[in-house]
């Protein structure tokens, strides 16, 4: 049972008050995109052992989507943050770097 803090209303809620939304920080591809770009956007998802960024909906609560940075192996939660960003905020990245030495955000490599 994951317990995450909703950054939009501050409630510490367990999984039964949330709905999962899969991988976070995907870029939408619409008309004009190549078949490969569109396939990536629609179907290809990261499924890492370790640091992962996910979308969650506080469905039985404030109704807001938020992002969670967590570890899929240890279940450690590095932080949650509102969904209106294209990449994890710096303080979340810093937190992960402290906990997982050598980790880098994918776009920074």
């Amino acid at each position: 049972m994951l317990i995450l803090t909703c950054p939009c209303c501050g409630i510490r809620c367990d999984e039964t008050e949330l709905a999962p939304g899969g991988e976070a920080h995907l870029k939408r591809f619409g008309p004009g995109s190549s078949d490969e770009e569109f396939e990536d956007y629609l179907f290809m998802r990261a499924n890492p052992m370790g640091v992962h960024f996910e979308r969650w909906l506080h469905v039985y609560g404030c109704g807001k989507w938020f992002h969670a940075a967590r570890n899929t192996v240890t279940l450690e939660v590095y932080g949650t943050y509102p969904a209106q960003v294209h990449a994890p905020p710096q303080e979340i990245r810093d937190m992960i770097s402290t906990r997982v030495p050598g980790w880098r955000w994918k776009d920074d490599s």
Binding site: C8, C9, G10, I11, R12, C13, D14, T16, E17, V59, Y60, G61, C62, G63, K64
Partner: protein
């Protein structure tokens, strides 16, 4: 105009907690950026104080519940709801908002019992942290009650108000009644 009926139509249950239909309640949904100073001052002009995150001001008949960073539920008398929608519409004119009378969308319950009895009944159905320190009077908790969405707050230490959608009023009444059946007191809080 015929008189409006509540979904519970006056239903009550008396167990170790008393469950009552709270009657007709005026409720107005307001979607607006609650962090926007113009919105806050326009609301202030309309006599509405914006509660902080997770809080409420006032109560049934006259108050406001914080629902999310861009949503308030304004409480008023049922028969004043349409007029209040008008007033708000005027007060917030020109701002990006959505105001809707949702007074008939929901069922409202009053729960009363000795000591922590109400907290116990709610804890049988909701995963929320119901410790007095986590949910004192003045705080609102939107959560899950068994399989449906609900919100509740404590009007004082031994009385709470609970709101759910109209269509599941019967389900929620049955849930609460079962949870409040005499003999099933937990004695935890």
């Amino acid at each position: 105009m015929p008189e409006s009926v509540t979904p519970l139509d006056g239903a009550t249950y008396s167990g170790f907690v008393t469950i009552q239909d709270a009657g007709l309640v005026g409720m107005i949904l307001l979607r607006a950026d609650l962090g926007d100073a113009d919105v806050v001052s326009a609301l202030d002009g309309a006599g509405i104080e914006v509660p902080g995150a997770g809080a409420l001001v006032g109560g049934l008949g006259n108050g406001a519940l914080w629902m999310s960073p861009d949503e308030l539920m304004i409480l008023c008398a049922h028969d004043e709801a349409e007029a209040t929608v008008e007033t708000l519409g005027e007060a917030l004119g020109g701002l990006h908002v959505l105001v809707a009378n949702v007074s008939d969308s929901r069922a409202v319950f009053r729960l009363a019992g000795e000591g922590s009895a109400v907290r116990e009944v709610l804890a049988k159905l909701s995963p929320a942290d119901l410790r007095q320190t986590a949910l004192p009077p003045g705080r609102v908790r939107r959560t899950r009650l068994a399989q449906v969405a609900a919100a509740f707050w404590f009007a004082d230490d031994d009385e709470a108000v609970l709101i759910c959608f109209r269509s599941v009023a019967g389900y929620v009444l049955d849930l609460l009644s079962k949870a409040a059946t005499p003999g099933s007191e937990v004695g935890h809080f």
